[in-house]
Amino acid sequence: MLVYVLMRLLFSVIVLIVASIFIFWLSNLALDPLSNLRAKHPAPTHAMIAQQEHRLYLDRPIIERYFLWIRGILHGDFGPSAQSGYDIGQHLGSAFKVTINLLWVSILLSILLSIIIGVMGAVKHGTWIDKFFNNSNFILYAVPVFYLALLIKIFAININVFFQNVTGSDITLFAVTGDSTPGITGNIFTTLPDTISHMILPTIVLTIVNVTVWSRYERASMLDILGSDFIRCVRSRGLSKFTIIRHALRSSLITFITVVTLELASLLSGAIITETVFSWNGMGSFFVNSLHNSDIYAISSWLLLTSAIIILFNFIADLMYSKIDPRIGRG
């Protein structure tokens, strides 16, 4: 088991190093961090351009730039930004925090709902309950995320307008912009309703997006397990339905965990669309802004972080896999 873990860890590190090289090389090929500066009116002097090129290491070979960047990262410095004075590490960190804040509730809800819906669908296979969840999943899966988010947002705004007109107040039931009302302070009784008001809509969107996929995996896996020999054996021993489901659930979670863990990594690397629609200044917003500014070090750092997260979650998935099925990782 230890050997297995160490081998997986080593492989993960190698993959990360190779990814970093590709990321840096492609970012530098594709973008010119001085593009916006060159387009300014009045134009900057040649001396100013040369100064900025020196600051951004653009007057050095790409290999040297790569090593400078990696060395900086190992010391907590994510490189010089195209925007002088902009601390990439600090902003990437706060963007990451915002994205985590956005995601954690929806991830927990999604896991819970997916398991419930998947199990119900499998256990009540062919009944109206199964059909209801199937149809719902198909429809919601077919709706593009952007459209779904906008639909829910506009629906909420109309509810707000209706409520404000009826009550004559300025109260906004559902906030559609950002993670909090600017300037709101006070104790938890003041801030919690505001936080909930801001989180509810993006959480609904992300949960729907996740559940439509995850619940299908869980249902399929559960169906497969329920039809297997060992479950037939358990059934023939006369054990209760609850016990049968409990036994089947554990086995069905192998596939579920693999899918969810991989999906988690991609969720963390953006939720770009949801953040954009609801104006949360998280990882997605950071990436889009960096792209607008052709900020190669910011983009490279973002890509490296998301790659590291994907690799990490793959590693965790492998470990959990081996924990759930002890046969994996032996010898």
């Binding site: 916006n36 500066l37 009116h41 900057p44 002097t45 100013m48 004075g85 109309n158 912009t177 300037g183």
Partner: protein, 578 residues
């Protein structure tokens, strides 16, 4: 009826219901299209707005650079937020006139022309938010930072400051500042447009290496908290630059006292989402780029809640040619191209759908709001879509196969190569304009490849052959009151900037532009610039298309917000609730 079947399909019903409700509410938004610059100062005017409350405004970009006078800091969104904490000697009114800031200054007078000498008299009661007086020290500080003598100091421009020889106090009075130039600078009113404090934590933090290092590094990284000479000062700023809260400056010395208790600027990067936030009362004021979709969205908003203004801006669109292209070095071809482009059609299909008042831009130097200085150098020459005239120009120059697709041939029997026409990716307006230009040029037999660029600077500077252009559509931000400085490098032959994107060269134009920069006679300055513009027009190097519009949407309860001037936030002490 099978209840279970119905329930099985209830998801369909829910989706349909949500869609219907989402499409439910709509209305006809109020509007005010301002066609003339002189109407701008009176828009949404209320003499005595109410006091109190918080105003929430949108910015499109988070503030990444807090020093708006550094090379990376001159972004419109940053300037909108921070400009008014650092008011200067002159400012622009809503109708684009350069006027003296009479809250700060008693006077600013040119007392000598040789050498050029300006006397600035600062009001006695003008102080910074920390109580320090605004005086000669601040002027000297600005000059030291912006004169370009220390190349390590990162500034947006040194123009004008590098002409100053000395700054002294008259008779020892620190409020009476004498600025002497070693070389005249015609647009001296544009100098000291923003003043930074020569003392205080932001510009002179404890333990700083040097003033220059602080300017280039610390001041770009750190927000100017509690630092202001305007009606509001920045009290809080989120580290990612997405949320800025301003409160009243207790030391504000101006005549009009601010009405709102707080101004909150929040970043919403997606324009569409910003409009929804306005509709949801999470925003009060939203400035926007002028696009047809924006107008349609505003028209769909409830009239009872939102008003919006569409007004001409100080920016204009133009077509620029790259004279490094072998074919475009022939003036006849350039003239024919400019002749066949139909500006009326372009306007009708693009900016004209935002505002029917959209005006053609007929000068590279002056805008229609510039009063008597503005002269039309292009209408009689180009941009009328006259096919016959364009063909005649080519025929007279010995071109053959005119009008045959891709076969236009010059007098040396060489086919005119396919032209690369570029525009910035994602810009729907320019996509339409380039399409119309391509169609027009095909009538002459010129093939055009329309290629987008996501790196305008790289394209314009020609740094990368993959990003090169033969023709390009982009916008120039006019700088009222600083026309000579603004256009000089774009048209001058040999310079120390890369702003001459198309490699244009005309010694007569160079002479006129150089003279304009040092001209002390305003009338002669305007004459120099107009003559230069006429020569450039004759050379068919750039074709101005139209003046762009700006849009400002706001909650109907907010008074005195309006477009115009360097920034729409310039009159923030007048804002208040109706």
């Amino acid at each position: 009826m099978n209840i279970k079947k119905i329930f099985g399909n209830v998801a369909l019903y829910i989706t349909a219901l949500v869609t219907l409700v989402a499409c439910g509410t709509s209305g006809s938004g109020g509007s005010h299209i301002v066609g003339d610059y002189k109407d701008l100062p009176n828009f949404n005017k209320v003499a005595k707005p109410k006091n109190g409350g918080t105003l929430t405004l949108a910015t499109e970009k988070p503030i990444a650079v807090w020093n708006i006078l550094s090379s990376a800091g001159t972004i419109n969104d940053y300037v909108d937020v921070l400009n008014n904490s650092f008011r200067g000697v002159y400012y622009q009114t809503a109708d684009n006139k350069m006027v003296l800031n009479q809250d700060l200054m008693e006077s600013a007078t040119r007392i000598n022309t040789d050498p050029q000498t300006i006397e600035y008299k600062i009001k006695q009661n003008a102080v910074w938010s920390d109580g320090n007086p605004i005086n000669i020290d601040d002027f000297k500080y600005m000059w030291n930072m912006m004169n370009g003598r220390d190349e390590s100091i990162d500034v947006a421009t040194t123009v004008g400051y590098n002409n100053i020889k000395s700054i002294e106090a008259k008779d020892g009075d620190s409020k009476d500042v004498i600025v002497t130039f070693d070389k005249p600078y015609s647009e001296w009113q544009g100098l000291f447009g923003n003043l930074y404090p020569s003392k205080g934590d932001w510009t002179h933090p404890a333990g700083a290496k040097s003033e220059g290092d602080t300017w280039s590094n610390l001041m770009t990284k750190n927000p100017p908290l509690n630092t202001s000479n305007g009606p509001y000062m920045l009290k809080e700023a989120k580290s990612d630059g997405t949320l800025m809260t301003f409160e009243k400056n207790p030391k504000w010395y101006g005549k009009e006292k601010p009405h709102f208790n707080k101004l909150v600027f929040r970043t919403i990067t997606e324009a569409q989402q910003a409009f929804l936030a306005l509709q949801n009362k999470e925003l009060d004021v939203l400035p926007s780029q002028s696009e047809v979709d924006t107008v349609k969205q505003l028209e769909g908003m409830p009239q009872s809640r939102i008003n919006y203004q569409i007004a001409p801006s100080t920016a204009f669109e133009l077509v620029q040619l790259n004279l490094k292209n072998n074919n475009l070095s022939d003036i006849a071809l350039r003239k024919a191209i400019f002749t066949i482009i139909n500006r009326d059609e372009i306007i009708a299909r693009t900016e004209g759908q935002v505002s029917k008042e959209t005006k053609k831009a007929n000068s590279l130097v002056y805008m229609p709001y510039s009063g008597t200085n503005y002269q039309d150098h292009y209408s009689s020459l180009y941009g009328n879509g006259n096919i016959e005239q364009a063909k005649k120009i080519l025929q007279d120059a010995g071109y053959t196969h005119i009008g045959e697709a891709g076969n236009l041939t010059n007098k040396d029997n060489k086919k005119v190569d396919t032209m690369r026409l570029r525009y910035t990716v994602g810009n729907a307006t320019r996509a339409t304009s380039t399409g119309l230009i391509k169609d027009a040029l095909s009538k002459l037999g010129i093939n055009v490849d329309i290629i987008t660029t996501d790196q305008l600077g790289k394209t314009l500077s020609g740094k990368d052959p993959q990003h090169g252009f033969d023709m390009i559509i982009y916008g120039i931000q006019g700088i009222p009151g600083l026309e000579a400085s603004g256009i000089h490098d774009a048209l001058h032959t040999a310079d120390n900037t890369s702003a001459n994107y198309g490699s244009y060269s005309n010694p007569d134009v160079d002479k006129l532009l150089d003279d304009a920069l040092v001209q002390t006679d305003k009338a002669k300055l305007a004459s120099d610039l107009n003559q230069a513009d006429q020569l450039v027009a004759n050379d068919a190097y750039m074709l101005p298309l139209y003046v762009k519009n700006s849009i400002l949407a706001f909650d109907k309860s907010v008074a005195n917000v309006r477009l115009g001037g360097w920034t729409y936030t310039a009159n923030q002490e007048f804002w208040g609730k109706r």
